[in-house]
Assembly symmetry: C2
Homo-oligomer: 389 residues x 2
């Protein structure tokens, strides 16, 4: 019933068990609650939310998350920029350092009406972007990436390189729109005090970078931060203009494992069907393997390793101690969590389960659509997802 | 230049560096050589090859691999069955234990002309398939899955359950087409003697299962085995009618790491561009992260851990000791292999590289197309790939 193109509005109101498995299930009320939670937290801090749509890759989800139909929004690929722009989203930040071979594509999107800003963190790229901006007579808006937690990209203090990059852009034909950072190290923390400390480190680091540019006589209107843990635990965002975050909309087992959300907040799951057993080992075999769950095993480094996922009943309630302990491409092996006190039920062939993922971004990317539900009822037509570059 | 739909035949003959990154690159001569190698090995053993198209998910690749335009072929999803059938491939085995909710779809494909066979390993499913075959007046062809290496699904000796399943199918309205097994444990072996031993264990186990069915007066025309390591190292396939294998067509760092191929045989790579550096750490940042490479870290358990991939120049030659040591969603971090004797070159911003993957099936699944090359030249129009279910 769920083969490509065969799904229609007539399934609305039916139970989940009419679907062919595996497929991606989105609990709409949890999505709405997760979005409301972050907005409630950010509103009194006086910053706008520029949601990172790489987690959703769906205009239907984006419309429930964005402040307006035109954005603002963050994307991780130019394919996402093309797609969301085709649906009327114009205020876009492409938040991965620009590669020279993507500049023609960026100019083309802007020529068609997208207010697409880019990111860079080095002098060579700044020189190229400035020169191309002048040559094309389209001053590209640029945020300079700053490294505030030593985890990946961005310019670190001292500020001489930052100022040189800013001056190159500003003097050379581009638009210096501001600075941005991403406290990716926050994903490896595990308590509220450390989230708060990292959020303050992210804030103070980026505000100092903005101050350095301004002290050199350069403009810096935007000061952009963001990661799901720091966005939720920041107590003060003075000097920051916007927050980017993505996984907050769905949450996942890593976010629950480090304490950013509860397991009951997870909005995304994979629907699967029991296809067999190895009774001697206590294994239940399902038709969702790593292709449906992704290979992401983010909880492996946490206090509780959830395998390839936590197994729930059709309404989305976890079945105690039942996880996906291993996976092949299209096979998942469900079994009791190592050290479990209870024996999970022996689900018969044909039984259907929902499985919470380690990482919503990675699991979502394996699927081309969302089935939108309220508990075990389908409440919407399909929401398509995009993928690739 | 490579945005969706913008690519055309006019790029044939151009160098790879015209492409937008990241993207998936397929070295055609290596694909052709890998296919020829396995066929050369199997031909004197008297078995047919039923290639597993889950690795390729592309009709253009399939046509270089299959013995004929109509197959035979193996698929891992009904989406693959739909897609290959729409391109004229009719002789199809869906090699994952059937879920009850997929039977309507299977009957529908068969009604439209696909000779689609299914797999199961338990009495409950056999009873359902027999009943549905009778009800639909379409005797479904079934291969019973047998477990010959204790790694996943399938019926194990004693043969009483196997015979009961076979009898249920044969007497009840389905077609008992034979038995199949998959020696998936072979991926964790690392030398020729163990591959040969596991291939013989796979062969003798499945031939014994076929004999048990025949001894009970049941038909068993097909005896199907397969995994890429056992397919290459089997010395005798007496009693076997067909071999299934998939990753052999592309190979990858896991297959090279366990000794099934050389690193120079790997046909699949991801094209990426340098977008920045962290000079103090010796890091080169590229625009291919785990979304482009997949989260598969299969080499982590092998003698040589290749990180997220081995970095090559544009012609596909490895750059000594340069690997992707870590990855975020759209960022990859290239650095010297831990313990490396040499210092890899400091690739400048804008430089492009090709990266061999840990696991061809997982990396391929992240992309919607192949760019087909001979060294650094594009030699074909795009070959599209499918995904999802």
């Amino acid at each position: 019933m769920s083969s490509a193109g065969a799904y229609s509005r007539q399934e609305i109101g039916l139970a989940l068990d009419v679907l062919e498995t595996p497929c991606l299930v989105l609990e709409k009320s949890r999505l709405v609650a997760n979005v409301a939670r972050l907005k409630r937290h950010l509103q009194p801090l006086g910053v706008r939310l520029r949601p990172h749509l790489k987690t959703a890759k769906s205009i239907d989800v984006a419309r429930l998350v964005m402040d307006g139909a035109q954005g603002p929004a963050t994307v991780s690929t130019l394919r996402e920029a093309e797609y969301f722009f085709s649906h009327g989203v114009t205020d876009l930040l492409y938040a991965v350092g620009i590669a020279p071979n993507k500049l023609d594509h960026v100019f083309d999107l802007r020529r068609r009406g997208a207010d697409l800003a880019i990111v860079l963190d080095n002098l060579e790229t700044a020189q190229l972007v400035a020169a191309k901006s002048a040559e094309r007579r389209d001053p590209l808006p640029v945020l300079i990436e700053v490294d505030t937690d030593d985890h990946r990209s961005g310019i670190k203090p001292p500020d001489s390189i930052l100022v040189a990059v800013g001056r190159t852009l500003h003097a050379g034909g581009a638009v210096l729109r501001g600075v941005m950072t991403h406290a990716g190290s926050s994903y490896s923390l595990q308590n509220q005090a450390s989230f708060e400390a990292t959020a303050e480190q992210e804030r103070s680091g980026i505000v100092a970078a903005a101050a350095a540019l301004r002290a050199a006589g350069l403009p810096c209107p935007e000061v952009s931060v963001g990661s799901t843990p720091t966005a939720h635990f920041a107590r003060d965002l003075a000097g920051v203009t916007e927050v980017r975050a993505g996984v907050f909309m769905f949450f996942d087992l890593v976010m629950a494992g480090i304490g950013v959300c509860d397991i009951e907040d997870i909005a995304l799951s994979v629907l699967a069907t029991v296809i067999g057993h190895q009774h001697d080992k206590g294994w239940i075999i399902v038709d969702a393997g790593w292709m449906a769950m992704s290979r992401d095993r983010g909880t492996a480094r946490l206090t509780v390793d959830q395998g390839y996922g936590v197994v729930c009943d059709l309404t989305g309630d976890p079945i105690p101690d039942l996880i996906m302990i291993d996976a092949n491409q299209e096979h998942g092996i469900l079994a009791a969590r190592p050290g479990a006190q209870s024996s999970p039920p022996k689900l018969p062939v044909g039984a259907m389960v929902r499985i919470f993922p380690n990482h919503a971004c990675a699991t979502g990317a394996q699927h081309d659509r969302y089935y939108v539900v309220d508990h075990d009822r389908i409440v919407s037509a399909i929401w398509p997802r995009i993928y690739g570059w």
